[in-house]
Amino acid sequence: MSIPLSWYLILAAALFCIGLFGVLSRKNAIAILLGIELMLNAVNINLVAFWRYQDPVKMTGQVFAIIVFAVAAAEVAVGLALIISVYRRRKTVIADEIDLMKW
């Protein structure tokens, strides 16, 4: 284990920023969800790295990562169901065209 902690943090920061770019620049709603997945993974890398480098006997970091897994699974299931439902009614998955609630 001769890898410095900061390497993990910088990798996670880069992954998070790539995901953020994807979320903000993509037109397709499914691609926006793909970017969110990248951001959640960056957070998980941080949590597990801190668990390993602080005190491996305390499992807080790993438990937090598992909760993030569960929330990510729930978010993807509901998000993709919404996108499929919208596609069925409006024949589009482009986020700009889903403007039913815009006045």
Binding site: M1, S2, I3, L5, S6, W7, Y8, L9, I10, L11, A13, A14, L15, F16, C17, I18, L20, F21, G22, V23, L24, S25, R26, K27, N28, I30, A31, L34, E37, L38, N41, I45, V48, W51, R52, Y53, P56, V57, M59, Q62, V63, I66, I67, F69, A70, V71, A72, A73, A74, V76, A77, V78, L80, A81, I83, I84, R88, K91, T92, V93
Partner: protein, 170 residues
């Protein structure tokens, strides 16, 4: 440069390269497949960090369930116009600059506040972290309440997803 540093750098290159492909590829199905590569790289990182259970969960839950769900959604919503033409918003450079600024800021923060070369101690061989994790998840003194709330959340998401995506009502 020791062996684990080389493995880390190779894995980091795979993760960042596939992540960039996820956000710039025009075909969504390719983006979903690149996401699988990135998630695999993160699983390798968990392995390097000696979090074996999380590495397995990453492969089973993320690649086995979430990525496949994405591929299904892409196939269900495929549209010829989307495969041609541009996939990014007209002012895509604005989020690019924003991401770069945030990245530079984060790197300055990390290098300024955290001992740059700090490495981890070995985990003592008499400690079984997998067993500790299992006990922590169900122990009333530790994380049983978040664990149960996560299961309720998953059930609610399951019911909600079935209700929203089913086309029978109208």
């Amino acid at each position: 440069m020791t062996a684990d540093r080389i493995i880390f750098l190779l894995t980091a290159g795979v993760i960042l390269g596939s992540a960039i492909m996820v956000v710039v590829t025009r075909k969504l199905i390719h983006a979903a497949l690149w996401l699988v590569a990135a998630l695999f790289g993160v699983a390798i990182l968990y392995g390097i960090l000696q979090a074996g259970f999380l590495a397995v969960v990453q492969v089973v839950v993320y690649i086995g369930a979430i990525a496949i769900l994405f591929i299904f959604a892409v196939m269900l919503t495929r549209k010829e116009t989307l495969e041609k033409g541009t996939q990014t918003r007209p002012n895509w450079w604005l989020p690019g600059i924003l991401g770069l600024i945030i990245l530079i800021g984060l790197i300055i923060l990390i290098t300024g506040h955290i001992d740059f070369n700090r490495t981890a101690e070995q985990i003592p061989t008499n400690i079984d972290t997998l067993r500790l994790l299992g006990v922590a998840l169900v122990s009333p003194d530790a994380f049983v309440l978040p664990f149960e709330i996560a299961s309720v959340l998953l059930l609610a998401a399951l019911v909600g997803a079935v209700f929203v995506a089913s086309g029978k009502k109208e």
